[in-house]
Symmetry: C2
Subunit: 239 residues, 2 copies
DNA sequence: CGATTTATTGACGAACATCAAATTGGGTGG
DNA sequence: CCACCCAATTTGATGTTCGTCAATAAATCG
């Protein structure tokens, strides 16, 4: 159930079997959400953090004119609001982009981990820190990458993140997003997303149809995106 | 020396005098940097984290064509690479935007805090989590705010962040940036920054001249930026 | 005071948004 | 299986924002 989380944590550092047991014991109830449902509303007091085990989730905020920006995308194995352990109230909404299954981790049990299992706590801390690295890379995309390059970068990142948790073939994966949702992630209009997808297709780099991404030229895509997975920090070393 | 950090942490939660002593004892050498110098280079192995106590620092990455994007701005009292405790290698460069003074915190002492002072460790964790919240707000700016609004938002955020550590008057502060550096923060060209600064001036909201920001109409600026300091999480509550 | 960086302005072009319409595709009920 | 519907995608025409290029003005520094 929390296997994908463990796979990910073990890309960061060893997790002893005792730590594994502690983590499994900290898991609470499992909940399902349907596509479109709100998982967490901004500015609510939370008493548990949420691990995504199946489906796709986005964090987003809205502006006054009704426009919406996705600030983070979560794949299975990701905590979607681990920072609520510290912040108590999250600053963004969490919504299900597809039917989802999540596991709740009551905060008191996570606090307990910080008290008695410092190394494990550091791994959890690391996972919030890597969320930050992903956000920084998003800032790069929105700030200076062109729109094709931005799109290419997103597809590269997701290929790697899905692959880590065993949800991608070597050059293909399922992505439960439509073009409007893509536009909210990349800060552009659906119309322009459509045109840039066409460009990626015509350049022979990638197709995205029927919720499936198929990468035909990985090296070309990486070059266009200037993608470097370094920021995902997936090299195993002691911490 | 680490007083600004303590002020900030105490906005988050109580810090006992024992914890304060532990934190003071963890501080290592003080180092000075001159404007323009590199404080930390991306992809280097670090053995200490860096607390900024004086000056202005930016984290940035460059793309192949030479363009540069700032991913985070640090003010005194901020750790600029606390995440290097977990990631070991940071994914971005750190540069001094003005003459700076920093204090190094050796990682072994910080690890020690996670082992023996869980509550204090959680406050440090929180400070990395708030960095993430600031990054998310930057994503909002770059993704959907117009360029005037983006500029306005930055000035609002900095007013609050400087004020917390006692470095701003009620409607004015020192900001050691030129228009080119502003453009690297906000993902636009220096020319356009110049025009948007002019617009803010003409709208009677704010002036930025000679490294000094003077806000003439705070409410107007906040409205234009849709600024809400909630994400800075400055309400004191138990954690 | 001259030299160099920084700010400012104008003219023009490219990237992206907006508006609107047409097409495709998936699901549903007859 | 077909007809229909609705949502999502695709395309075209046009407008706006912002970038680029280039020149001038102002500020800063030795």
């Amino acid at each position: 159930m929390i296997d994908k989380l463990l796979v990910k944590l073990r890309r960061y550092d060893d997790v002893s079997s005792e730590e594994e047991q502690v983590l499994r014991a900290a898991a609470g109830e499992t909940i399902e959400f349907r596509r479109g449902q709100t998982i967490v509303k901004a500015r609510t007091e939370l008493s548990a953090s949420t691990l995504l085990i199946e489906g796709l989730v986005h964090s987003f905020k809205d502006l006054g004119d009704g426009s919406r920006q996705t600030v983070q995308l979560a794949v299975p194995g990701d905590f979607i609001d681990l920072h609520s352990l510290l912040m108590k109230q999250v600053d963004h909404n969490l919504g299900a982009l597809s039917n989802c299954r999540v596991v709740k981790f009551p905060h008191e049990r996570l606090i307990d981990i910080t008290q008695h299992h410092a190394h494990l706590a550091r791994l959890l801390w690391l996972s919030t820190v890597i969320d930050g690295a992903i956000e920084r890379e998003t800032i790069m995309s929105l700030g200076i990458r062109s729109s094709v390059s931005r799109l290419a970068h997103l597809f590269c990142e997701l290929q790697v993140r899905f692959e880590v948790v065993g949800l991608a073939e070597s050059r293909s994966y399922d992505l439960q997003l439509n073009q409007e949702e893509l536009s909210e992630i990349l800060g552009m209009t659906p119309v322009h997303i459509n045109r840039m997808l066409k460009e990626l297709r015509e350049r022979g780099l990638l197709t995205f149809r029927g919720h499936v991404v198929e990468i035909s030229d990985w090296n070309g895509l990486v070059a266009l995106a200037e993608f470097d997975p370094f920021y995902l920090d997936l090299r195993q070393r002691p911490r």
